[in-house]
């Protein structure tokens, strides 16, 4: 277990863009590849490989706080990439406005 730090976690408070329903595995992976390596590695170690923060910190040789911030940032970037993808499909505010016009 880790001690929480407001500075580390500050940027995670923002709401998530919704996860588009029709994202395929391939699109998910494509979005993941666009997340910078440092962030992607932490997301993969923790979300896929299920290492603990402490273990991931040991593997990457970085402080736990860095793991926490990279994880939050990586997940957020991934959500943003997927939201962009959803918009490109016409899913989102622009599309809805267009439909009602």
């Amino acid at each position: 277990m880790v001690e929480e730090s407001d500075e580390i976690l500050e940027h995670t408070a923002a709401g998530s863009p919704p996860l588009p329903e029709y994202i395929t595995d391939e699109e998910m992976l494509a979005a993941l590849t666009e997340v910078p390596q440092d962030f992607r590695a932490v997301v993969l170690l923790i979300d896929v490989e299920e290492f603990s923060y402490k273990e991931a910190a040991g593997i990457l040789d970085v402080p736990i706080g860095t793991v926490m911030s990279r994880l939050s940032r990586g997940r957020k970037l991934l959500r943003e990439k997927l939201a962009d993808l959803a918009l490109s499909y016409g899913i989102g505010p622009t599309h809805q406005e267009g439909k009602s016009a």
Binding site: E3, E4, V48, D61
Partner: protein
């Protein structure tokens, strides 16, 4: 211990901790505060649900990739072994282990996304664009072999059941049918010729054989030289029997080529570079000998 008391601005505080909450990394007391808030706040509950869905979808998508299981096991064991040695990793820096960790879980991702989706069989313009993109980094003389391999063996596929030898001989024509036994004798065990014919791509004629082994394909592509065209240069990758062979990679394709009198010959595959080169080195002496006797 660092217990967080939620009160004013509870939603904002909750969301700061949601990622650690999802990863089950919060202290018990903080976890309880987050849970209590989420149970009573529809917006934060929806936010937590969205983040958990994303986490689950990432895991599903990555695990669906076809990374060879034995490779996954080996690297995961190395990673986990490093933990049991108090983070001391003999021979590897920790960073190397970390990179290996991200490599293994990303291997499928990178493997697949280094490969563009193939255009539809009927979409010729898209096929040409694909070939141009894939081969963009290659020397012009190597593009010749790669283009026909993709055009013929990748886009049009090879037959699951190879035609009889007589049919392949007829499709190759009298000048080239003798290549069938030459190639069969020089490729590694397990490869079989599944297609052999003369074809044309981008206004150029080719003699083309496709070989297959457990779903892996490779092509022998032969073209008449255009005036002034040659593969020979200062730095061959290998030189079996004095035949300089040049190889280059374009995305996941490997293209090896050598001069054979009036012809250019290529071995193209998506095998590992070393394997492709070895096969080219095995084939080159016999194929070259045959082509040197073949009238242009």
């Amino acid at each position: 211990m660092n217990r967080i008391q939620f009160g004013e601005g509870a939603c904002e505080k909750t969301r700061k901790y949601l990622d650690s909450y999802i990863s089950n990394e919060l202290l018990v007391e903080t976890n309880h505060e987050v849970l209590r808030h989420v149970e009573n706040c529809a917006a934060c509950a929806a936010e937590a649900e969205a983040r958990m869905q994303l986490r689950a979808r990432v895991k599903t998508a990555v695990n669906a990739q076809t990374v060879p299981p034995e490779l996954q096991v080996r690297i995961r064991e190395q990673i986990r072994g490093s933990r049991s040695k108090s983070w001391f990793v003999s021979g590897w820096g920790r960073w190397a282990v970390a990179m290996a960790a991200s490599l293994i879980v990303c291997a499928g991702v990178w493997f697949n996304y280094s490969r563009e989706k193939l255009p539809a069989l009927t979409d010729r313009p898209a096929q040409n664009a694909y070939i141009q993109r894939v081969s963009a980094t290659l020397a012009a003389v190597l593009k010749v072999g790669l283009g026909d391999h993709i055009h013929c063996s990748v886009f049009r596929k090879y037959p699951k059941n190879p035609p009889p030898v007589e049919k392949m001989e007829a499709d190759l024509g009298p000048s080239y049918k003798g290549l069938l036994p030459v190639v069969s004798a020089a490729v590694p065990d397990g490869y079989r010729i599944v297609m052999a014919h003369q074809c044309s791509y981008a206004g150029r004629k080719f003699v083309h054989m496709t070989l297959e082994k457990n779903g892996e394909i490779l092509s022998l592509v032969i073209a008449h030289k255009n005036p002034g065209e040659s593969l020979e240069g200062p730095s061959p990758a290998v030189e079996p029997s004095g035949i300089p062979i040049y190889q280059s990679a374009a995305q996941h394709y490997q293209v090896a080529g050598f001069d054979a009198g009036n012809f250019l010959a290529y071995i193209v595959s998506d095998l590992r570079g070393k394997t492709n080169l070895q096969i080219a080195a095995n084939l080159a002496p016999r194929v070259r000998e045959y082509l040197m006797k073949t009238p242009a």
